[in-house]
Symmetry: C2
Subunit: 218 residues, 2 copies
């Protein structure tokens, strides 16, 4: 059971680590981090480097594909190396999955056409524009395509997928091992629950970034 | 606000990434991954390498110290390089923190004597043996010492600490950004909640490992 987690410059680390820390619990899981080039790939803050041990070309046919998101949507949506690998890997994968705005890469690669999927709450409209039926759910299964909402949702997705692949008991074992009994000190984890002015602040900033990107292209 | 996250061979990745992904949201946070030697440090499965950008010696006085755990308790408890750095850094730190069995390193360094602390549920007895008052709580504050339970508890700790340092609103902003609205597909994240036979399996395996280690030392 080969599980390939894709890295690219400016990815968000927890997007990758949530699935990693859970899917590794599948019996005979052989996880490999892959990128366009082998070596260090820096995250969205530049403060952390993860090592891709293999190139995309060296891992063309994993059983499970995982693509994390990142704040610069063009980093994943216009990354032809990543999109090409996703298209190839998807032809033979058992599961093709994403966390956060990783679903924008799957959609940009043409893999989510008319499928149900999710993404970071700020990216749901963009996901719709790409021809995908976006839902606000935390984890969405549509055939072999599994997408998770923002960042931390990859933990929930990973556990759900371990359950599908290896059974409930194995998933519970993984959950107990990582002591995933969440007790967030605040209840602000979704736009429906967070204070309205914080949600607005994100939406305004996101809109500004969109306009800035459009401006840069024009 | 310099935040140093310690790495050592066979650490558990999510232990480090939970605090990283949350504490990075503190205004003016400057996070740095440190280890005995700069360069790649492999995690507990060997499948993932994280890059330590600085050596312990180069970062002697961070404001916040974070030490993750790992399954090989001797890796952290008998790691003199790590323990020495923890003692030095603790003399000037504002907060000294751990996730999972990272608290065993803090205790082995002599920093948790007679303090309340927590750890991975399988390590609570060991924590007691080291002269610490172990609690089963998910996140424990005792003065400037903050310890989290197993693996995923570092996310809750990170958010709680962001709240203490930068205020509730900033912590809620971080929570919304990482969409931390947990919806685990199972309810098996603590020994009280998981099926009893899964809990027993872990305890038996842990006891076996202890005896094996004792045998190896004898």
């Amino acid at each position: 059971m080969q599980i390939a987690i894709a890295l690219y410059e400016r990815f968000t680390v927890l997007d990758a680590i949530g699935p990693y820390q859970t899917l590794s619990g599948i019996p005979d899981a052989e996880v490999v981090f892959v990128a366009e080039r082998a070596g260090t790939v820096r995250d969205d803050s530049g403060r952390l480097g993860l090592v891709a041990d293999k190139t995309f070309a060296e891992v063309p046919h994993p059983d499970i594909v995982v693509v994390p998101g990142g704040p610069g949507q063009s980093d994943q949506m216009e990354n032809e190396s990543l999109l090409g690998w996703l298209r190839t890997a998807d032809t033979t994968s058992t599961w093709t999955t994403s966390v956060c705005t990783g679903s924008l890469a799957l959609a940009a690669a043409g893999l989510l056409k008319d499928r149900s999927a999710t993404s970071h709450w700020l990216a749901l409209e963009e996901l719709e524009r790409l021809g995908t039926r976006s839902t606000g759910q935390r984890v969405v299964f549509d055939g072999k395509y599994v997408t998770a909402a923002g960042v931390s949702a990859g933990i929930d997705m990973g556990l759900a997928l371990v359950g599908r692949i290896a059974g409930d008991e194995r998933a519970q074992t993984v959950q107990l091992m990582i002591e995933y009994d969440p007790q967030p000190p605040y209840d602000a984890g979704s736009p429906e629950k967070a204070p309205a002015h914080i949600v607005s602040m994100f939406r305004d900033r996101s809109r500004f970034n969109d306009e800035e990107q459009e401006g840069a292209k024009a």
